[in-house]
C-alpha cells in the first residue's frame, strides 16, 4: 500500500534513537497540508510504538506502520 502512495514529504529517520524519530515527525508535520502525508523510514524499533502514540496524542493518523527489511516504514497523515 505504501509503495503505491506518494507522500507529500519523505523523512529519513534512519540511525536516530528515541526521542528523535517522533520529534522529527512532529517538527515536520506542519510542512504538509492538512490531509497530506509524510512517509518516514526509521531504524529504531521503539518508533513502532512511539509514532502511533504520537499520532493518537496529537490527533493525527498513522495510515500504515510496517517493518520492511529491518527498517520501519510509516505513512503518517496530518488530520489537523
Amino acid at each position: 500500500m505504501s509503495e503505491e502512495m506518494k507522500a507529500d514529504l519523505d523523512l529519513d529517520l534512519k540511525g536516530l534513537l528515541c526521542p528523535m524519530p517522533m520529534v522529527k515527525v512532529s517538527q515536520n508535520i506542519a510542512s504538509v497540508p492538512v490531509g497530506g502525508t509524510i512517509r518516514a523510514v526509521a531504524t529504531d524499533p521503539g518508533s513502532m510504538a512511539d509514532i502511533p502514540a504520537w499520532a493518537k496524542s496529537t490527533g493525527n493518523e498513522v495510515i500504515s506502520a510496517e517493518k520492511v527489511d529491518g527498517e520501519f516504514v510509516f505513512m503518517v497523515k496530518r488530520l489537523k
Partner: protein, 163 residues
C-alpha cells in the same frame, strides 16, 4: 470528561533536582517527547539540577560559593553518571557509547527542548544558596521562581515528575 477538558490537561511539570548525566538524559528525553506530542512542558531546576541550565562560567561570591563553583562548575556536559563515575571516566565512557549508538548529546537535547518551547526555570532559593545568578544560565531560561509557582503549574498538569 469532555474532549476539550482532556485537551486542556496536556501539560507536564517536572522538578529536576539531579545533576546526574543519566537522570538528565531521562529528563530531557521525556521533555522533548512530551513537547513533540503537543504537551506544554515546565521544567523546574533546583539544587544539583541547576548546572543543567548553566553556561560554562565561574560562579560564587563567598568563599564557600566559589569553592562550590570550582568543584561543581562547568556546564551540562560535566554531568557524571550516577553509577560508574570513576572521576570522569564514566562520563567519557558513556559519552563514547552513546555517540556510537547515535544518541543526541545532553546539551543538544537541552537546546532542542528550548527550541520546542519547553519552559525552564531556576529555583530562586537554591540559586541564592549555591550563589548561581540568572546571568550564569543559557539563553531561553525563564526568570527564577519559587515553590508556589511550581505547585500552581503542577496543579494544572496531567503529568508531574520528580527527577
Amino acid at each position: 470528561m469532555s474532549e476539550q477538558e482532556i485537551e486542556k490537561k496536556k501539560k507536564m511539570s517536572m522538578v529536576v533536582m539531579s545533576g546526574d548525566m543519566d537522570k538528565l538524559f531521562g529528563a530531557f528525553i521525556i521533555a522533548n517527547g512530551a513537547a513533540a506530542m503537543g504537551t506544554d512542558v515546565t521544567m523546574f531546576f533546583t539544587f544539583w539540577g541547576l548546572r543543567a541550565i548553566k553556561k560554562d562560567v565561574r560562579t560564587g561570591t563567598t568563599f564557600f560559593g566559589k569553592m562550590l563553583g570550582l568543584m561543581y562548575g562547568g556546564d551540562i556536559m560535566k554531568a557524571n553518571p550516577s553509577k560508574f563515575s570513576f572521576l570522569g571516566m564514566g562520563r567519557w565512557m558513556f559519552g563514547k557509547m552513546m555517540g556510537n549508538h547515535n544518541v543526541a548529546k545532553l546539551d543538544e537535547l537541552r537546546d532542542l527542548a528550548v527550541t520546542l518551547g519547553v519552559k525552564m526555570y531556576g529555583c530562586q532559593m537554591s540559586m541564592d544558596v549555591m550563589e548561581i545568578p540568572q546571568s550564569a544560565f543559557i539563553d531561553g531560561v525563564q526568570d527564577p521562581v519559587g515553590v508556589g509557582f511550581f505547585i500552581a503549574e503542577a496543579e494544572e498538569s496531567g503529568i508531574q515528575l520528580f527527577i
